[in-house]
Structure formats: structure tokens, C-alpha cells
Symmetry: none
Subunit: 236 residues, 4 copies
DNA sequence: CATGAATGAGTCTTCATTCAT
DNA sequence: CATGAATGAAGACTCATTCAT
């Protein structure tokens, strides 16, 4: 499954100037389609670009956007600061792609998990979504954690382009809850929006403290969280 | 009740140079100890200092520490940037006090709420703590919300001095849960630390989306959250 | 006499951001009104600002806008590069004021010369205008010579704000010629616009080669030029 | 007629490093000597080289030397910036050849016009020179206009190599005037150097405003200018 | 011949900080 | 107490230049 782009934001490309002949943008699409068996011999440019994005994501996540220096990003990507501009037009453009990849990644991970489950209970579906969200956030993607962590402090103009996808993701969760409620697996009096806020909040805050140690730590956390969300802390 | 300072951090003063004769950093202590009958009128200095801190807290909360400039803080405090240095030795010192006040504020708010409750069920006590934490975070203190929001992205040396108090606050919550569990109001198999992370996480994440509109919005949110935490979403 | 500002461009101030509390802009007006006898104790800020503009004008004139570095300007003004930003928001703003002062200066000089002449022949009036233009250009103002020399190579957006004043100056000359022609002191078949271009061109090009040596060099040049323009090179 | 190189500057080649085997800088000589029957087809290299120079000239003329980037030049020449270095060792070398071609072009154009006139009055010869200069400047060569426009703002070391040719051109004009004066077609009291400055100035300044529209616009301008120079504006 | 990718020196600009007044 | 004016270090960004392919 692939997360379809929302209308407002046709890719990230729309905001690129690219007066130069440089290869800016486009990568996102290409990369995702790369099947492992084809091994599409990522060219040098592509590799550097990814290095930069990866480094940026890690640093943004740790220090925030404004505290992160292009020199830091460059150093981590093992190039010189000026070279970044061969691949991106500005620091903001890097941020833009980091955010985009990050949200797209959780969204796809969650969607995939739910879709592959086939015919299961709604609680199970939500449980899978919880697990997938946590995995994306804590295990598989610096982009996702960067996004979740820094988004709230960014100035308007940097947040704006990402709103549609964020909304879409929120609505995906809402739908999960609505279906569960309609099926009677969730109390009828539960309002969906605050519920989603509560759940996503509990999940997202884990970035603030969770440190990945062993393979199943995240799965364990997911299970625990699912239980709390469904059963609460009350003595049963 | 007053939150007592932990041993590691004897006030904020430990990091002050204060070669000049200026009153830097001493205010916190002084202010609180000010007897009402003796010095009812905050002197000008004190007022500016507070203005600066208040402005800083608001900006830190919104934009993060590094994206906030001293000129922005000064403008909001209706003074000029240079003047800040009469009251503080550095931007970091401002941060330091903002963080300190912020955590101290929730801590006191929560403690007060719980203590004033008198003899009530543990669930009720936890419910009051939840409410108090949310009130402090969303309604009464920019310091608290600033603290919660930016702490995670700060460099080590800025976080370090605040660890003891943070730990103390965490332990306070743990105790609430331990007591409840011991009393059988919470399942026996519930581990306290992950539980606290979950609860605090769900509460803290509200800064990311909650916008204070009417007076009871926070109380309403608190009630809802308490229910979710105790009963979960399951059909009863 | 004071050159009145054209409607399109109410001073230079219109394009100033000035989010900071710095004293940007406004100086132009203040300075001109300073009578010598009042000696309005130019404050430090004003002096630096003028130093910067003066330095910039000299360098722009010699090397062009883009080849001139803020560091060069600063060095010549005996300050550090960063300090420039206390007085101006950008290099372009400096340019802006240099251009403005430059044109305003010739315009005023020429207008004054002509107006103070009283009742004289049109040829005399034009002669005085020629002299005044050359004096402003070659002797009294680096701003004027900078303007004349670099204007043509500037990008559109930098030229645009100065068009109205330029047009006004051109029209002033046109009027001188029209009057002279009407009075029969200039051939009737002479078209005014190409004539003005020719005259102003011959005058302006002097910056490319004229080096001020002694006091009357410019006056001598002016006399010669006037003769050429009126009588041509033909044997009489 | 071919403008012979002056002694000081044996071609442009003197400043070339050319450690590589590349054909840098030799073109000028080669091209002109290319017999039509032998090498009618410019090779690819030659074509690119010319493209680069042509593009550079246009941009230099419009924006000045320092404001023009190699990438702009490359783009206009439909190649990539790096490729320029196959043809030139540096941006300055391009400038060097642009300047050289530019002056050489006017010089040849003027000389040819005058020489081909055969036995005519001196005024006619000067008239032809005026026309030829304007044609070269405004119609036939971006190199010439680039040269005229930017030369004055270049740093010493870039101007120096072109002085001899400039001087030669100036002397050529001086000779035209001297001959005319000797023949009594110009007043005896007219000093030649200021006269030449005046005339050349009036001609050169046209780049600042003249926009080529129809075929004879330049010729019309030339006629007008000639009249002004010889007869002045006086009522005859 | 040409390009893709990178580099380093330098540019404009920002900002915490200083200090005389 | 507060400000005006300045500074220096650093940040984002540009650009001529290099060089392997």
C-alpha cells in the first residue's frame, strides 16, 4: 500500500525553485518503488541526498530544527556544508522532506499493518495500528520521530504544507475508532476526536523517554499500551 | 506546601557568576519569602525580571529555546535586549529559571490538590492529580508548558540541573500509583513506571493540540482523561 | 530649495522593515534641515550611519554594487561588518539610500544654481545647470557619482523605486531646453529628448575619466562642455 | 583592415597557464586566420567557446562582471558550469577575451568605415567614425557594449592588459580631430583630448538608454549626434 | 567535450553579549 | 535600571573552481 498524496500538496516538488540544473527532489517517489531484488544501483547523488536527509532527521529529532546546523548535518553525512546545496535549495527544504517522509512512513506502516490483518476484530485492528505507530516512531524511522517531535514548534509557514497529510492520518485513526464503536467494541458514549488525541498522545510521548534496547522492547511496549487503552488501570 | 529543593541543586544560584553587584538570580527565593506586610510592592527590578521570564516562557513554549531570540523576549517584555543583562547573565540562565519555575509550578499544584483532598479514595487522588497537572500545564503556567515542551530537545548540560526535581516529581506520581495498587484500586499486575509514563505522556501531549477556550474546558478534558485512564475504551 | 519627493516614493522609508527598535531611515530629512549655525550635535548613531553611507558610496562608485563587500564598507567606516546591521537592514537598503541621496543631491544642486541665477538668458541657465551637474558629479558628492555610475547595471527591483525621481530630474532638464527653444535660443528643429540624452550623456561620462586635481578643474571642464554643446566644433 | 595588437599585450595568451593540452585561448587567432575555403565548419569546441563568450558578454553588459555567475553564463550557453573550464581557465579569462573582442570590434569597425570612405572631407570622416562607433556599440556587438559599460568598474589588474589597445583607439580618434583641425574644419582653439572625451562620452553613454528598435534607429541617432557635435544647439 | 558532484573561501546576515552613558 | 551602539562568532547560503567519469 502506498499513501496517496493529498490534493493540496502534490508531492514536495511544488515548492522547489531549482533554477539550477541540480537533481533536487523527485527522489522520494523513486526510492519507494525500489524493490530489494532489483537493487537499482542508487547513484552517488541519491546516496548523498539520503545521507543528508537521514542525518538531518536524526539531528532535528534530537535538537530541534533551529538548533541544528547545516554543518552538523553535513558532518554527519560526511560531506562539507556547502555541498548540501547541490542537493537542496535550503535548510527548510530539507526539513520539508524530512517531515514529509516521516509522516508518510508512519501512515504507510500503520495502513499496511491494518490492511494485512484481514478479517479480525476492531480491537485487534486498533491494536495493530498502535503497534505499527510505535514501531515506526521508535524503531524504523528517524524521519517519523523527527516529525512528531519538532512539528509543534515550527513556524506556521513550515507547518502549513504538511497539514493535509496530517489530517488524513488523523482521519484514518478516527475511522478505526468509529468502526469499532459502531461494532460495539468501544463504548457508545466515547467521542472519537478526544479519544484519538488521547491515544496518539500517549503513543507519541514515548519518544521523550523510550530508548530502544532489545528487539521486542517496542512490541512489549505496544502490548502494554494497548491493554491500558482498552482496559484502563481499574481492577477488572 | 512548598516543593523543597533537592540536594543536587541548591537553588539555581550555583551556576551564577554574579561578579557584579546586581541582583541576579536571587529573586526566586526572595520573592517567595517576601512577607506581605513588609514589602507589598514589588520593586521595578522585580517586575522587569518577571516580565522577562514570562515573555521567555511564552516564546520558548511556542518556538523552542534556540529559535527564540533575546530581542523577541525583550520586545515582549517591553524593554530593550541589552537590558536583559541587568537581570540575567545569559540566555541560558533565563532558560534555567523558566524550567525551574515550570516544574516547580506543576509539582506544587499537584501536591496541593492531592493534599487538600484529605481522606479520599486513591482513584480520586489520582484524578485530582490529573486535573491539577492539566490545569498547570494548560491554564495557569506558561512556565510549565514551556518546560514540558522544550525540555526533551535541550542539550545535556541544560537538562542536567533539572533532573533531580524531575525525578522527584516522577516519584511522587509513582507513589500515587503504588498506593492505589496496594489498596487494590489498580490491578496488581500493573507495573508502575510504564503506567506513569503512559499517564504523564497522555497528559503532556495535550499541549500540542489543546487550545484553551472556555473556563471549564480543561476540567472537562481532565474528567474525560481520567475515565480513559481508569476504565479504558472497552464496553464495560 | 528642496527637492520634493515624488508621490510614488514617499521617502526611502516605505521599504523599511525595521522590526527592531533601531533608528533606521529618517536621517535624510533630518540632516538636510541642519543649519550650520544650529550645529545639532549629530549623535553617535547618526555619525556612524553617515560614515557607512559615505563609505558605501565611494566603494560602489569605484567597484560597483555587487563587487563591494560589507566588510569593505565597514572597514572604511571604521567599524565591524556586523555593526552595519544596527543601522541598516540589508546591503540593498544601503544602496537604496546611496542612490536616493545621490540623485537628490544633483537635482538640488542644479535647481539651486538655476533658481539663484535670477533673470538671465536661457543659455546661461543651461550653462549653470551644466556646471552644477558636473560639480555635483565630480566634486561634491560620492553619492551622485555612485548613482550615475552603477544605476544602469542594477537589477530591476533595485532600480524601480528610483524611477520617479529620475524622471523628474529628466523633465527638469527638458523644461530648460523647451524654454530655451521657445525663446529662440536653440534651433527650432531640435528635439528635446535626444538633446537631453546627448547632453546628460556627455556630462555623465566624465566620471569615467575625469580626476579632480585643482579647484577649478571642474569649472574649466564645465565651460568647455558648455561651449561644445552650444557651438559645436565647427569653425564659426 | 585588421587591428594590430600592441606591443605590451602580445595576444591574450600571455596570462594563460594552459598546463593541460586543452585549446584554451588560441581561438581568437585561429578563427580570424581560418580561410573560408579550408575550414568552413567551426568545430564543436569552437562553437561552445563562442557561445560562452557571447553569453558572458551579454550578461556582463547587463549586470556587470561581478554580478554575473558562471552558472548564468553556462545556462545561456546551454552547457553546464563545469564545462566552461574546458574552454577557459577562469572567469577572468573570459572577461579578458570579452573585453578584447569588444574593443577590437569597435576599433575595426570604425577604422574600416573611415578607410573605405576614400577621399572625403574630415567632417565626413568623423561623421563616419561616429556612426561606426554607435553601430558597433548598439547594434553589432555585445562585446563592445560590455566592454564600454563595465571597464570602468574593474579592478586594476583586470584593466591593465587592455590599456594599450584603448590608448591606440583613443589616439586614432585624436588623429581624426587633429587632421580636421589642421585642415581648418574644426576651430583652431579646440583642444583635442577634451574634445575626444566629450565626443566619445556622448556616444558611449547611449548604451545606458538606447534600445534598438528598427533598423535605422542607430543611423538616425548617429546623424543627430553628428549634427550636435559639429553645429551645437545654437540657432545658426 | 561535457557533466555530476563536490569543495572551500567568502558573502550577507543574525544574535548573544558587552559596556559606556 | 535601561538603553544605544557596537562586536565577534557563527549561521545559511553562493560561487568559482576541481576532477573523476
Amino acid at each position: 500500500m502506498k499513501v496517496t498524496r493529498t490534493s493540496t500538496r502534490s508531492g514536495t516538488g511544488s515548492r522547489r525553485k531549482s533554477a539550477t540544473g541540480r537533481p533536487k527532489g523527485t527522489s522520494a517517489g523513486r526510492k519507494r518503488s525500489a524493490r530489494v531484488e532489483v537493487a537499482p544501483v542508487q547513484m552517488k547523488s541519491e546516496r548523498s541526498r539520503d545521507q543528508i536527509l537521514q542525518s538531518a532527521a536524526q539531528l532535528f529529532r534530537r535538537q530541534g530544527f533551529s538548533a541544528t546546523t547545516l554543518r552538523q548535518i553535513a558532518a554527519r553525512a560526511k560531506i562539507k556544508a556547502g555541498s548540501i546545496y547541490y542537493h537542496f535549495d535550503s535548510k527548510e527544504e530539507i526539513l520539508d522532506e524530512v517531515l514529509d517522509r516521516g509522516l508518510r512512513h508512519v501512515f504507510e506502516t500503520v495502513k499496511n499493518a491494518v490492511e494485512q490483518a484481514g478479517k479480525v476484530s476492531h480491537r485487534r485492528r486498533i491494536g495493530l495500528a498502535i503497534e505499527a505507530h510505535l514501531v515506526a516512531l521508535l524503531e524504523t524511522s528517524d524521519f517519523t520521530s523527527a516529525n512528531i517531535r519538532i512539528y509543534g514548534q515550527l513556524p506556521e509557514h513550515l507547518k502549513k504544507p504538511h497539514r493535509p497529510l496530517r489530517r488524513a492520518y488523523a482521519e484514518y485513526w478516527d475511522q478505526l475508532f468509529i468502526n469499532a464503536r459502531r461494532a460495539g467494541e468501544i463504548r457508545a458514549d466515547m467521542e472519537v476526536v478526544p479519544l484519538r488525541m488521547f491515544v496518539i498522545g500517549a503513543l507519541n510521548w514515548t519518544i521523550e523517554w523510550f530508548r530502544l534496547e532489545n528487539r521486542d522492547a517496542v512490541l512489549e511496549l505496544a502490548r502494554r499500551t494497548e491493554t491500558l487503552i482498552f482496559e484502563g488501570v481499574n481492577k477488572p
